[in-house]
């Protein structure tokens, strides 16, 4: 098959391929590209804020753990009279706080 034969065959195939069907509207494509561009720009602008939120969450949790560890004796004396229910409530508060922080950072 020579170059000319191939060329002729391919042009015949192309003629069969171009038929029927309206092409998509270029205005819609343009708009779609602009929208995607804006979404990407928005995500890029929000990224430092998300990073700061995560850092503040980690720092906050670490500070809470350090404070608890430093004042453990005092806390123990405070919690002991109330017994197990207060301990469970404290754990529930910590879990809820973590979930709330996750929810806020996910927004």
């Amino acid at each position: 098959m020579s170059e000319n034969d191939t060329s002729m065959w391919m042009r015949h195939l192309a003629a069969l391929s171009h038929a029927e069907g309206e092409l998509p509207d270029p205005a819609v494509i343009w708009w779609q590209a602009q929208m995607q561009e804006r979404q990407v720009a928005r995500a890029r602008a929000a990224r430092p804020m998300a990073i700061v939120q995560w850092i503040s969450l980690v720092v906050g949790l670490a500070a809470a753990v350090v404070l608890c560890a430093v004042n453990w004796t005092g806390m123990k004396g405070l919690l002991e009279p109330a017994g197990a229910p207060l301990g469970i409530a404290a754990i529930a508060c910590v879990v809820l706080a973590a979930l709330a922080a996750r929810f806020v950072s996910g927004e």
Binding site: M1, T6, M10, H12, L13, P26, A27, W30, A33, Q36
Partner: protein, 163 residues
Amino acid sequence: MDQARFTAFYHETAAGLRGYIRRVSGDWQAADDLVQEAYVRFLRAHPAVEDSAAMKAYLYKSATAAIYDRWRKKRNERLWRLNFRFREETPPDPGEGDVTRCFRELKPRERALLWLAYVEGCAHGEIAAALDLREKSVKVLLYRARRNLERILRQNGLSEVES
């Protein structure tokens, strides 16, 4: 690139690009979606407006990437459904002619090469840019694609052009 320039470029290239996508992907139903996807990718890359040949090459590169991404997505969906008998294309249309069927028997890259070279009339450098190949490889790959097409046509008793 402003909207007016894009619209002009679109009218100049869209019909040819849709033909390319239809033939390379083998999926006529998804062709319009892929055309849109290719142009959106093209616009988001902010192409240099001055060089129309480079713009066209980049457009075809975007289209080829969109086709491959679609196949990859389909393959992953099939894997998730534990359907491992993967075929990268949709089944042929029942009404398709011999010419179309023969062309589908080629590998996707061979179809892309032949289309760009003989329908779009692209130079080897443009084909290399569009298909992410080295310019030197294009000549050899084109030769092989031509030989394969010839073999398929002979096997199907189609040495002459017919529909």
